[in-house]
């Protein structure tokens, strides 16, 4: 067994592999299928202040090499989350870390969710979702530099827990947003959320997805995610959680070499729930075979012609 341990966001991680927000619910269902305590942890489905109904069906469909979803951030809302979901996480996970994915319509929404959660136990910190393409105001916070700066600063004021901001891929320069997060006190970045996309049923001449458009995820976006992770890496020194299209150790290692300290597996879970364990195992095998620790691989991409 190779050394995959790291200290990130102020705590020790036994594995760099997390389950991505929205693809693992609140953990419970996957606990029956895989030993969650053997991986790094999970990120919950988005939690908003009030419960959200979400979008009409169809909410998911396959796209070439991936899928599109427009769940619309359906979730039970802050109070029900604390009452019904957090206890399970607290009681059933011991080594796996939990980040709570947070959304809001307004800065105040975000702040209230974080302040409402902050004195609870059972989780490590927050992943701030400013990048959901499936609700009207979903990327409002993620694509406008000033709004983002204000939001991050406000949340920083609210909590001492790790604050990770999940970036949208849909900007000309992700480095700009990465720096804004760093300057305003974020502890880490998640890159990336889904790409806005659309599928049309040509026989009915209607969108396949009830919400008209949705977010594209899965292997199709892997090269974009690796690129954006690498670009974010060059812009900041914050730890980056690499996300997008990961379905193997080799995919995950591309993110790690590009500069990610942790990675998340999302859509691939739908294809094979065991993927999280397998990704961990394959990273382990690679490190073992190459006699390196995971820490040595983070950002270790060699660019030919670059001064070493």
């Amino acid at each position: 067994m190779a050394d995959l341990t790291q200290t990130v966001l102020g705590v020790d991680w036994q594995s760099p592999v997390l389950l991505a927000s929205g693809t693992c619910g609140y953990g419970e269902e996957y606990a029956e299928l895989i030993p969650l305590d053997r991986i790094g942890g999970l990120v919950t489905k988005a939690v908003s202040l009030e419960p959200r109904m979400g979008n009409p069906p169809h909410r998911v469909a396959e796209t070439p090499g991936g899928m599109i979803n427009a769940i619309g951030l359906q979730n039970v809302g802050l109070s029900a989350f604390i009452r019904d979901k957090l206890p399970w996480l607290r009681e059933n996970l011991s080594r796996a870390r939990v980040l709570i994915n947070v959304v809001g319509h307004t800065e105040k929404d975000f702040v209230e969710v974080v302040s409402g959660l902050d004195d609870q136990s059972g989780f490590l910190g927050y992943e701030i979702n400013v990048s959901c393409p499936n609700v009207k105001d979903g990327t409002l916070f993620g694509a406008d530099p000033e709004t983002l700066a204000k939001l991050v600063a406000a949340l920083r004021h609210e909590t001492e827990r790790p604050l990770v901001v999940k970036l949208t891929p849909n900007v000309p320069d992700i480095g700009l947003y990465a720096r804004i997060c760093e300057e305003n006190g974020a502890d880490g970045l998640s890159a990336i959320n889904t790409f806005p996309g659309m599928l049309i049923d040509i026989d009915r001449r209607r969108p396949v997805i009830g919400n008209v458009s949705g977010g594209v995820s899965g292997p199709a976006i892997l090269p974009m995610g690796v690129y954006l992770t690498w670009r974010a890496r060059q812009a900041t020194s914050l730890p980056i959680i690499g996300i997008g299209g990961i379905r193997s150790g080799s995919d995950a290692l591309q993110y790690v070499l590009a500069g990610a300290t942790l990675i998340q597996v999302g859509t691939a879970l739908f294809v094979d729930p065991q993927v999280a364990i397998q990704v961990h195992q394959e990273i382990d095998d690679y490190c073992e075979r190459n006699r390196v620790t995971l820490r040595q691989l983070v950002g270790a991409l060699e660019i030919p012609g670059d001064p070493a």
Partner: protein, 260 residues
Amino acid sequence: MHAPIRCWAEVRSLREAAQETWWLEVHAPAIAASAVPGQFLMAGFGLTQVGAPFLPRPFSVGWTDRATGTVGLLIREFGAGTRRLARLRDGDQLLLLGPLGRGFHIPAGRPTVCVGGGVGLAPFLFLASEARDSAAEVRLLYGERTADRVFDPVLIAELTGVEPIVYTEDGSIGRHGLVLDGIDVSDDPVLLGCGPTPMLNALEKFARERGSDLQVSVEEHMGCGIGTCQGCVVRGVDDSWLKSCTEGPVFGAGELAWPI
């Protein structure tokens, strides 16, 4: 309900049972052992095989043989995923997750009338074959548009021991007309429906008017199949969203907002 099982299953046989309609048998003992009629499974090709449809597809458990560990699926070609399944060969491997969801609930002693439209036949093959050795009376009504779509009746009888009453819209085989026409509610049976949405809507109206108990199995696009992604919702009677993968796919008619 059992925890779902993730397993690779070997294809044992695939035979064409009607036009673009296939009967697939796979070896999946753990699923065969625990599935109940109305439950489904997600069938896919995993993450390492090149060139498969990406997401797994939901299929009703169509039959099981616990002795041999066999699970039978009725598969009709629809898009890329089902077309790929129709090209499986013996010995190929499928990645299964199942059994999933809530099955039919059949009160002891009540006769059941199963109303299957098209591939909606699948869960009733399983249900009828399970009922074979019990005293329960199972009547099977099965509708298709045309004769060439009708699932091989010899195979149905072989799998279930029940002789279906077949309806075709054009009368090219079996009785002429809609499957609803054949429902006899005189002995207060439980009605079970699975098939296209218009059929389910008509069935609900029929059952409501006659005061009959009705359970329906619904179809919605699915992501995870286990209740985490919220992808598979249908509208509930109180206007909330119900997850068809865990709260369904079988619902009591009273749980849903009709027409669906």
